[in-house]
């Protein structure tokens, strides 16, 4: 019998090292990405147990969460941040791990660094002590976040104990309207399937919209799979994937390149494979989307009103009440016109070159509204260098944005970039949890880079298509 398999099953089977006595699978992790926040305790455990790192050459480190974006020289003003960087540096040195450190020119958010260096490849398994590891699924990898004890497992045994996931295929067919981006697609998917809809699933994204998407757009979608509770999300590798990877430092070249492409292609889901669930979404139904609440599923289209919790289903009501109270919004009022205090463009969701280019294109000649603090944080030093070569930094500065160094920054505010008090931030990041951006009473609204740019120049949540006259934006 000719067994048809989806990509998840193929990659899983190729990395299956057998059944553990608990019945779980010992899954080989081919690529291990580490950073300063979730790895130090794992190295501590390794030392306590007297264990070595199994495959240092398959382990790659960078520093992203705690690096300040406005001071790039150590010592930083925060001694704890210093200690964490030093600890990672020591661990990488002791165990022979490649570290894309601050002076390397390759430092950045781990989920931006992996793809841009070609470390992220199709048909591989990738783990990192960070839930947004799902980003790497854009290349047809099975990539997911793990806890620190599992970081220890991967360091020591290059494998983890795991139960197989089910696979839900999500098709987005048709054409997105101008001004509608990958960010809107994933916010819409999460809103539709719910923030717990993905428990137990890997999401396979496909359909015409994904076929046309660039790698950076695919990464934006896969990045937020975890916000819909799917531990990983992926897109099947295709010509777009291979074209992106060709010539990247960690990718094979010459004869080996051809072999790699042929092997990578073989991991794509077979035409007649089966899925545990199938969801169809019409691209034409998606409009620019903004979150109004305290989880990424609490979102509306820009022309919709803020929901009234009392009119929602019993299951949604309590969280919605809490959200409305925290966000200090008026139920039933339009979301348009909500005043903002801060605009943030960056993060592993939307801190790539195309994100910075798209917003800059429309910001040219515009000014950030008085009283709004606007910052743009490139996702990596490489993104930053290319953007600066293209003059994007000047466009942002002239518009009144602060142009910063690479890091996670205000996505989770482990560095000095934080909201103050109950400031409201229009943000391209991935989580609008209470307190996420550094102030317990701070408020976050998630949206695409263009929508943040529009909010920055008008000082309020608005429809970027109207503000910027977006009509011909090269849309998918």
């Amino acid at each position: 019998m000719n067994e048809q398999k989806n990509l998840f099953e193929k990659v899983w089977d190729a990395h299956d090292a057998g059944r553990l006595s608990s019945g779980r699978t010992q899954l080989i992790i081919g690529t291990h990405l580490i950073h300063e926040v979730t790895s130090p305790q794992a190295f501590g455990m390794l030392r306590d147990l007297g264990l070595a790192v199994r495959c240092p050459h398959r382990t790659f480190a960078t520093v992203d969460h705690i690096v300040p974006t406005n001071e790039r020289e150590e010592p930083f003003s925060d001694p704890l941040a210093d200690e964490m960087i030093r600890e990672l540096r020591r661990n990488c040195k002791d165990y022979g791990i490649t570290f894309f450190d601050l002076p390397s020119g390759k430092q950045g958010i781990v989920h931006i660094v992996g793809p841009e260096l070609g470390i992220t490849q199709p048909g591989t398994t990738i783990a990192c002590g960070d839930s947004h590891t799902s980003t790497h699924g854009a290349f047809g990898a099975i990539a997911f976040g793990i806890g620190t004890t599992q970081v220890r497992d991967v360091l020591a045994a290059q494998s983890i104990a795991m139960d197989k996931l089910k696979v839900r295929r999500i098709n987005v067919n048709g054409r997105l309207s101008p001004g509608v981006y990958a960010k809107d697609v994933i916010l819409h998917i999460i809103r539709t399937l719910g923030v717990k809809g993905g428990i137990g699933y890997a999401y396979e994204y496909g359909g015409e919209v994904f076929d046309r998407f660039t790698m950076e757009e695919r990464m934006t979608v896969c990045n937020m799979s975890i916000e819909g509770a799917a531990r990983c999300g992926y897109v099947n590798p295709d010509a777009t994937t291979f074209e992106y990877l060709k010539g990247r430092p960690y990718c094979p070249s010459g004869q080996e390149w051809e072999e790699a492409v042929s092997r990578w292609s073989s991991f794509a889901s077979d035409a007649d494979c089966s899925y545990d669930d199938l969801v169809e979404i019409d691209a034409a139904d998606i409009a620019p989307t903004v979150t109004w609440g305290i989880n990424p599923g609490q979102a509306v289209f820009i022309n919709e009103n803020i929901p009234d919790p009392e009119k929602l289903s019993a299951g949604e009501r309590e969280t919605a009440r809490e959200a409305i109270a925290h966000m200090a919004l008026t139920p039933g009022a339009p979301i348009i016109g909500t005043p903002i205090d801060v605009a943030f463009i960056g993060s592993c969701t939307n801190g790539r070159l195309s994100d910075l280019q798209e917003a800059a294109h429309y910001l040219k000649g515009r000014r950030v509204a008085p009283g709004v603090k606007a910052i743009v944080v490139p996702g990596s030093q490489i993104v930053s260098a290319i953007a600066e070569k293209q003059g994007l930094d000047e466009i942002y500065r002239e518009a009144g944005f602060e142009w910063r160094g690479a890091g996670c920054s205000m996505c989770l505010a482990m560095n000095p970039d934080k909201l103050v008090g109950d400031q409201l931030c229009a943000s391209t990041s991935n989580r609008n949890f209470k307190g996420r951006q550094g102030s317990p009473t701070g408020r976050t609204m998630l949206m695409s880079p263009l929508m943040v740019a529009a909010a920055a120049v008008t000082g309020e949540i608005c429809d970027a298509r109207e503000v910027f006259g977006v009509e011909t934006a090269a849309s998918q």
Binding site: A17, L20, S21, G23, R24, G147, A156, A157, I160, G438
Partner: protein
Amino acid sequence: MALTKITNITGRGIYLPGDDVDTDRIIPARYLKCVTFDGLGEYAFFDERFDTEGSAKLHPMNEARFGGASILLAGSNFGCGSSREHAPQSLYRYGIRAVLAVSFAEIFFGNSIQLGMPCLTLERQDIEKIAAIIEQNPATPVQIDIAATKITCGGEIFKAGLPEGSRSGLVDGRWDPIAELLENNENVDRVMRALPYMDLRK
């Protein structure tokens, strides 16, 4: 490594109502600036328990009658968001030994099991029933029989859910898989050699 067999857990309960409680709430990111997990217990649910001035807010964890509780009860999708193990570590170090919820986010669930803090699912009505019992009398013991995946509280018995791999791991003292992962070295080597990107052929 011989691990404790986790078969029964008995303790007082504490109920934190609400769904989609995320790991940023369980432990705010500013407390992740550390190189060990020691001392994280005091930061569990910090911003839910204290206002920005540091004064205690109205929160079950601030109520003396729930002091010493070791069984946490919660809603659905508990522990969603970040993969930070600091979240279950802070709960464990606060004194929590098991979590009962309608459902769990997967990374949180895996992290908790791997540190020996069982997470069991119950029907929402059962969570609410147990919550009502402990509200009435916080001293009522909540007894968890891991092997039978059964909860006893206030004379009532509730059926709980726990995937078999996690259940047997806890009961047999194999909830931390590291020893077994290392033992299987030969198989690991064989699988890795068949993966060209692992670069082990040379």
